[in-house]
């Protein structure tokens, strides 16, 4: 990873630790530097089940592209009721009752893998597009940002339960962009794994509470399993216990930054403002995190 390009994923085990705050502030802390070098930076909201980045960046909906999967449709005239499609389906999305006989597709369970179509000997399955969500672009209100900052989000349709295809399409949409920050969904689910899969660096955001630590450990395990470079940001660092710092030291997870429970941050945040724009000391801290990630230099001393 160099100044020629990066893919930084901001993730956390636990929800509500400040992933989006970190993603957005990191973007604002480094955008000018990248602009001076003639680069565009893209922030991608990968939390397709409840995207919220645009609430912080502001922006008007500009363009949406449809995302979805191909689900099977059974052509009853051609079906020989062998049941192979139901057997190969890993998600039990095809119900086959030999006794009647009856075959049906449960579209909500289908992940669009295509196994049924592939294994159907009489070619009695045709695939049809099922709309699962959208990839949205936003026009940023701040005209100074428009030429070098891009915000893209994946948004799963309300009521649908299969987020990964929308996430995959959203990532595909920005595949050609050199400078990308992914705001990952919380947890250690398929969506989180999908998000960090092609990241060069994973910033784990946690808080020093027992829940925060428990979920950080899970997230760290995923990151280690996937052999990713990673670092830790502790949010609300002056609350809770020392255990999170001890864990990071024990496993050798670099501590990139500590964000204290600072009233000034709360004030900016509650106005919908950007912390690094209003509090220069934090801009410097975020910039140092970026320098560390890109150059491997030591981040600033914890506050």
């Amino acid at each position: 990873m160099t100044h020629q390009g990066f893919r930084i994923a901001v993730a956390s085990g636990k929800g509500g630790t400040g992933k989006t705050t970190v993603s957005v502030n990191l973007l604002y802390a480094i955008k000018d530097e990248l602009k001076d070098k003639g680069h565009k930076i893209t922030l991608v909201d990968c939390d397709v089940e409840e995207p919220n980045v645009v609430i912080f960046t502001g922006g008007e909906f500009e363009l949406g592209k449809k995302s979805g999967i191909l689900v099977p449709e059974i052509i009853e005239d051609k079906c020989i009721y062998c049941g192979v499609c139901a057997r190969v389906c890993n998600y039990n999305a095809i119900v086959f009752v030999k006794k009647i006989p009856k075959i049906m597709v449960m579209e909500d369970l289908c992940h669009g893998c295509g196994a049924c179509t592939r294994f159907c000997a009489p070619r009695a399955i045709k695939e049809k597009f099922k709309h699962l969500g959208d990839i949205n672009y936003y026009k940023l209100q701040d005209y100074k940002l428009q030429d070098n900052v891009q915000v893209v989000e994946g948004r799963l349709n309300v009521g649908d339960t299969v987020p990964t295809p929308v996430l995959r399409d959203t990532k595909g949409e920005v595949a050609h962009e050199p400078f990308v920050i992914y705001d990952a969904p919380p947890g250690t689910s398929c969506s989180m794994v999908e998000t960090i899969e092609d990241a060069d660096y994973v910033v784990l955001v946690s808080e020093p509470t027992p829940f925060g630590l428990n979920d950080l450990k899970l997230a760290y395990e995923v990151v280690r399993e996937m052999d990713k470079r990673a670092g830790l940001i502790i949010n609300r660092s002056d609350l809770g216990t020392e255990n999170t710092r001890e864990f990071a030291a024990e496993v050798g997870l670099p501590l990139l930054m500590e964000i204290p429970f600072d009233r000034r941050i709360a004030e900016v945040y509650s106005r919908g403002g950007i912390v690094v724009e209003e509090l220069p000391d934090y801009k410097e801290k975020f910039r140092r995190v970026y320098e560390y990630i890109v150059h491997g230099q030591k981040a600033g001393a914890p506050s």
């Binding site: 039990n92 999305a93 009752v97 006794k99 009856k102 049906m104 449960m106 909500d108 369970l109």
Partner: protein
């Protein structure tokens, strides 16, 4: 008439398992010959779509009615489409009570 009842154990004095898709056993009762058998629910540990699998499984026994405390939306949809009546019973209902009801 054939009925499947989601139950906890393979015994006559067992109680209803609250979950349809992930119940431990099904008691399959045939009122035509008053025959009762217990079968293991093969879908209980499925990662995805346990309800649809369980519905498919009991349908192969030619059931007309299924008893459970709760049915998931997918399982319910499958049962409806197969013309099987899904009947909710209180959690912890005894198998004996349901059988008595079926025997009239």
């Amino acid at each position: 008439m054939v009925a499947a009842i989601a139950v906890k154990d393979q015994s006559d004095n067992t109680r209803m398992d609250p979950r349809f898709g992930r119940c431990s056993f099904f008691a399959i009762y045939n009122s035509d010959n008053d025959y009762l058998q217990f079968v293991t629910n093969p879908a209980q540990a499925e990662q995805h779509g346990a309800g649809t699998q369980a519905a498919q499984f009991v349908a192969e026994y030619g059931v007309d009615k299924v008893f459970a405390h709760e049915f998931g939306p997918q399982a319910h949809e499958v049962l409806v489409k197969l013309g099987i009546e899904a009947i909710k019973k209180d959690e912890g209902s005894a198998l004996a009570e349901i059988l008595a009801e079926l025997r009239g």
